[in-house]
Amino acid sequence: MTETTISRGNTLPRIRPWLGIAAAASFVVASVMALFWAPTDAVQGNVYRILYVHVPLAWLAYLAFVIVFLASVGWLWTKNPVFDAIAVSSAEIGVLFTGLFLVAGSIWAKPTWGVWWTWEPRLVTTAIMFVMYVGYLLLRGLSTDFSRRATRAAVFGIVAVIDVPIVHLSVLWANSLHQLPTVLRAGGAPALDSSMLLTLMVSLGAYTLIYAYFMTARVSLERARQVRLWTI
């Protein structure tokens, strides 16, 4: 491949500090809005505020795994190692976000549903998604040959993304305890008060910036590792 762009210094290391500041600042704003500015819910009271953490993390986990899919396609198509770096970075962040939103959901479930966990369709498919992408990361440990590892992971990353729409649609396909989608749904506007929707969008923006910041750091680290270990 071409000589590494890391040593010449590209745009990413320069924007990363600004990205980090933007991520931190927007996270603070989103948290203040979620905790204090957004109204309470008429049914759930204050406990619903976990929504502003749970939902953006879930959406970003979906996005992360879709990016794993795209990067996997990119590797198989072009054999450019940058795609493998993007795939593993996005998978790691996706697994982290999935674990976090599962915990947030569980914390939300106990005072509302009355249980920490139950084997209902949304939770089952999400648990499967979590385990699959942990498997993706473990699969990468099977080979030290770069090309073989990347190809194996890419094939897995392409197949595993199927669970992402399944997780989202699971509540529509089967009797479930988890409620139907509030925002990403076919009929009607988002079922949220406008101030709640605004808070949710600000939170989504904050978590997206956090994802982007993590990605720039992790991809850069992976590229440096690729150069050091495989001189590509």
């Binding site: 008429a42 549903w113 249980v115 369709p121 890419a154 399944i166 396909w173 089967a174 709640m196």
Partner: protein, 147 residues
């Protein structure tokens, strides 16, 4: 032709094909028997044995939720009727009424039928719907949970 397409592109196409296949299989399976709960109508349609552990889901019938079940004094129980608009099941459960269990809202109960067609619940889960509204001067919100 294989050399022109390239083995890696073939692998990509095969992977995409497998993905579509897996997706179709999963989608059709999720629509059929992997049932998290049955509705009262379904429970009466299928033959559910006494003592067989199942999950029942529906709406809590308005006016049916009480912490003093009829004919069972002194027990720390509460009762309500689960309905899907068509069939009804009387549910008895131990302990205090869960905080979010409301009349007119959804619930899922796990347990089994007693001989007198009362459902003895070992777990009562309150369900809430996907609508979030700010409170309006203490009035009950108009939206309700669907079963």
């Amino acid at each position: 032709m294989l050399e022109q397409i390239g083995a890696r592109r073939l692998l990509l196409i095969a992977a995409l094909g497998v993905a579509v296949l897996v997706g179709t299989v999963a989608a059709t399976n999720l629509q059929s028997d992997a049932v998290y709960y049955m509705t009262p109508t379904e429970v009466y349609a299928k033959t559910v044995r006494t003592g067989q552990t199942i999950r029942l889901g529906g709406l809590v019938e308005v006016g049916s939720l009480t912490s003093q079940p009829a004919g069972r004094p002194g027990q720390n129980e509460f009762e309500f009727i689960i309905t899907d608009g068509n069939a009804k099941v009387r549910v008895l459960a131990q302990g205090a009424i869960p905080g979010l269990l409301r009349e007119g809202a959804g619930a899922v109960v796990e347990g089994s039928f007693a001989a007198d067609a009362t459902f003895i619940a070992t777990q009562v889960i309150a369900k809430h719907d996907e609508v979030y509204t700010a409170p309006t001067a203490g009035a009950t919100p108009a939206h309700r949970t669907a079963p």
